[in-house]
């Protein structure tokens, strides 16, 4: 079998498999397509997340057009989900505060978690929410941030995991006074 390989005259037609972007041999095959454009050529169809951006920081090997052979539909779908937290489609919910003349609207998807959200609410409505604990709710404040969930129930903000909150929050309500204390539990 060894002489067989000699017959193939490998030297003359050797495929030099260098990384894209490195010097090419005379034959100049290598990863030719990568010289023309780094990633997909139908840019119109791609959401652009996978290209050029430093965020994914793909190794040079990853920049071959059409490799790995994953359907664009599937690639876009997975990319979209990963990019979702930063996607433009926010979730805007109304925020009311007991006693305030008009409501506000905020994009709850813009926040990474409860602390950020509460700070934003405090800034918007000029109040302090107090300290949250599972047992006592919001302690040390006349106010309690609450929300209406998909089933129409009034819930205290902070009890459920953040992702679940985002998925189920329909409206925010900053409650004040005795009602708030009732929600906040404790005494």
């Amino acid at each position: 079998m060894g002489s067989f390989e000699n017959d193939l005259n490998l030297e003359a037609t050797e495929l030099r498999l260098g990384l894209p972007g490195t010097e090419e041999s005379e034959k100049g095959n290598g990863f030719r397509s990568s010289n023309k454009r780094p990633l997909s050529d139908s840019e119109a169809k791609q959401d652009g997340v996978e290209e050029k951006g430093p965020k994914a920081a793909p190794s040079p090997k990853a920049q071959i057009v059409g490799w790995p052979p994953v359907r664009s539909y599937r690639k876009n779908s997975l990319q979209q989900k990963k990019a979702d937290p930063e996607a433009a489609s926010g979730i805007y919910v109304k925020v009311s505060m007991d006693g305030a003349p008009y409501l506000r609207k905020i994009d709850i998807k813009a926040y990474k978690g409860y602390p950020e959200l509460l700070r934003a609410l405090e800034n918007m409505f000029k109040f302090t929410a107090g300290e949250y604990s599972e047992r006592e709710g919001y302690k040390g404040s006349d106010y309690a941030p609450a929300y209406e969930d998909k089933e129409g129930d009034l819930m205290l903000v902070g009890d459920v995991p953040w992702e679940m909150f985002i998925a189920s929050c329909k409206k925010l309500r900053i409650m004040k006074g005795s009602e708030a204390i009732g929600l906040g539990c404790g005494l």
Partner: protein, 585 residues
């Protein structure tokens, strides 16, 4: 030849359903050809440019079902420019004009305009079935027309299409009188859905067996839908996130238990792992599970789920299940026939967590395995040989190593021997995709052993023309060959021109083929369309794209390498809808 009257023969032909078989019987004699063509109802055209719609209608006037494929397979991976072609509109126009009784249209990788959908919905009174796979070009407005006008619609199946959302509220346009739906799949749609309209539609569709929804359909809506349709067999879940302590979730769990007919589960386009236990009750009946779009389920949850699925025959999953997860699959899913493991992070170096070990485990546990698509970090010859010995029944074997020229990490050798073992052992192999470091040897093996091979995909493989020549000479049943970034040139292309008339198509991109050779081939084989596709920044020589073969005067042009070539046999001549970056020689 005929000892029976035509009607009797026709009755016998009714039992012959596969396209290949019907094609065969039509070759027996003239009268069989005539009887067959007048009675054929289901027509399959593997390449929409291989024949004109008029010829199809002329030959098969009784056509009721039309299946068409358009773009070459590598279009899936962005190797074919956007407006290359594959338009269905001329076909619809021709069918509508001829007044055939078209009931079913199935399209793959075609460009479907809203106009086409509107024309379909208004031209065929008995239209029942629309299946679109990997198509593009239409919006929800086109769907509106189909929903509103196809009063007998039974099947609307949209698989992985790129659909523009025009907020058309298309689902609302199914009339109240529409009660015939059996299959409704809109999982690929990106926009919002009127949930109440969907629930009402499901409620009035007692025959509904397959329902695959998109992300906009929430868990509480799913609960209502399932309570209306406990007879469902195939369910695609949209959003599956909810507070597991809520009443809604409790209701959902109870509703799911009532769905005793579900054998296929897919979707979970948005999912919280803590909600998954709700579906455990249906897992024991599942024969098909597709979690390949369900990002965010950790391996431990996947494993817990798989343990409930003892009857699985088909599993599509993401590689985050890991080698360990695949071992669990191997020990639980003894009936597994088809496995697809997709990369959850195609460009993330080193994040992928399946290797040859997972596949080897599967091969020991799942002896009935016959179809594989496996994206992995690495592969060894030893593993492939083991897999070949354990699973001789492969019909489809597609391996994709994320680093396309990676050698066997244990021996630093090419993977020729491993793939050689596969083709030698799997005598019924029809489809093969190669990857990893490969020389001409693997092609020698393929040519020698892969006697049933119909489709071969090659990327970054081989050392010389001989590789491709081995395949063209050896694989008698080869129908489709697609090659990219491999050192096959003119000698390979021209080694056996007649071979291409026995095949559907050949794709070669980033190879060593020159313009001159392509022209020579086109001249020699008038029944082939040899297309040169040049979508790069390089200017295309005007003289080349006049449509007819033109003698190029400039020196060296013939020696110019062709970036992308696609050739296919055809009775229709050069196509008249080729864009300017496509030149048919």
């Amino acid at each position: 030849m005929n000892y029976f009257p035509d009607e009797v023969i026709e009755q016998v032909f009714d039992y012959v359903t596969s396209h290949q078989d019907r094609n065969s019987i039509s070759l027996v004699c003239k009268s069989w050809y005539r009887i067959e063509r007048l009675s054929r109802q289901r027509v399959f055209i593997g390449n929409c440019y291989s024949i004109s719609p008029d010829k199809v209608i002329e030959r098969f006037p009784a056509i009721r079902s039309l299946s068409l494929k358009g773009k070459p397979h590598f279009a899936d991976f962005n190797l074919v420019p956007y407006d290359w072609g594959g338009h269905v509109y001329p076909w619809i126009v021709a069918m509508a004009k001829s007044k055939v009784n078209l009931e079913e249209i199935r399209l793959k990788r075609m460009v479907v305009s809203d106009e086409s959908l509107e024309l379909i919905s208004s031209s065929f009174a008995n239209f029942t079935s629309l299946v679109l796979v990997s198509c593009e070009g239409f919006t929800t407005n086109g769907l509106k027309a189909v929903a509103a006008n196809c009063s007998l619609l039974r099947e609307l199946d949209l698989q992985e299409n790129e659909v523009e959302d025009h907020r058309s509220q298309w689902l609302n346009h199914f009339p109240e009188s529409s009660t015939s739906l059996v299959t409704l799949n809109f999982s690929c749609l990106k926009g919002e859905i009127n949930l109440a309209a969907l629930e009402r539609l499901v409620a009035r569709s007692p025959n509904l067996k397959t329902l695959r929804v998109n992300r906009a359909v929430t868990l509480d809506s799913l609960q209502k839908i399932l309570s209306w349709a406990p007879q469902l067999m195939d369910l695609g879940v949209g959003s599956f996130i909810h507070d597991p302590d809520s009443e809604t979730f409790y209701k959902l769990k109870n509703t799911i238990v009532q769905c005793k007919s579900i054998t296929s589960l897919s979707g979970f386009l948005e999912v919280a792992p803590y909600c998954l236990p709700a579906i455990y009750p249906v897992c024991s009946n599942l024969t098909s599970l597709n979690l390949s779009y369900a990002l965010g389920i950790p391996a431990s949850e996947l494993i817990k789920l798989i343990r409930h699925c003892k009857r699985l025959q088909r599993l599509w999953i993401l590689d985050c299940i890991g080698d360990k997860g695949l071992e669990v699959v191997a020990s639980n899913c003894k009936d597994l026939q088809e496995l697809r493991v997709f990369p959850s992070d195609p460009f993330g170096a080193g994040n992928t967590v399946v290797t040859e070990e997972g596949l080897v485990a599967i091969s020991f546990g799942c002896k009935k395995l016959n179809s594989l698509l496996y994206f992995c970090h690495q592969m060894t010859n030893a593993a492939l040989i083991t897999v070949a010995n354990n699973c001789p029944n492969f019909v489809r074997f597609r391996l994709c190593i994320l680093d396309p020229t990676k050698a066997d990490p244990l021996t630093q050798q090419p993977l020729d021997e491993g793939f050689g073992a596969i083709v030698q052992s799997c005598k019924g192999l029809k489809r093969l995709s190669l990857s990893g470091l490969l020389t001409d040897m693997v092609f020698l093996y393929i040519g020698m052993y892969a006697e049933q091979l119909e489709m071969l995909s090659v990327a970054f493989a081989g050392k010389s023309d001989k590789g491709m020549i081995y395949v063209l000479n050896g694989c008698k049943k080869l129908r489709k060959l697609e090659v990219r970034d491999s050192p096959f040139g003119d000698a390979a292309l021209l080694a056996d021109p007649g071979k291409y008339e026995t095949m559907r198509s050949l794709w070669m991109s980033s190879c060593e083929v020159t313009l001159g050779a392509c022209k020579a081939l086109a001249r020699k084989m008038p029944m082939l369309n040899v297309e040169i596709i040049d979508d790069s920044e390089l200017t295309v020589d005007e003289a080349l794209c006049g449509g007819a073969p033109v003698a190029v005067t400039a020196d060296g042009d013939d020696k110019q390498k062709v970036e992308k070539m696609y050739l296919y046999r055809t009775l229709a001549g050069p196509r008249n809808d080729a864009p300017e970056f496509v030149c048919t020689l």
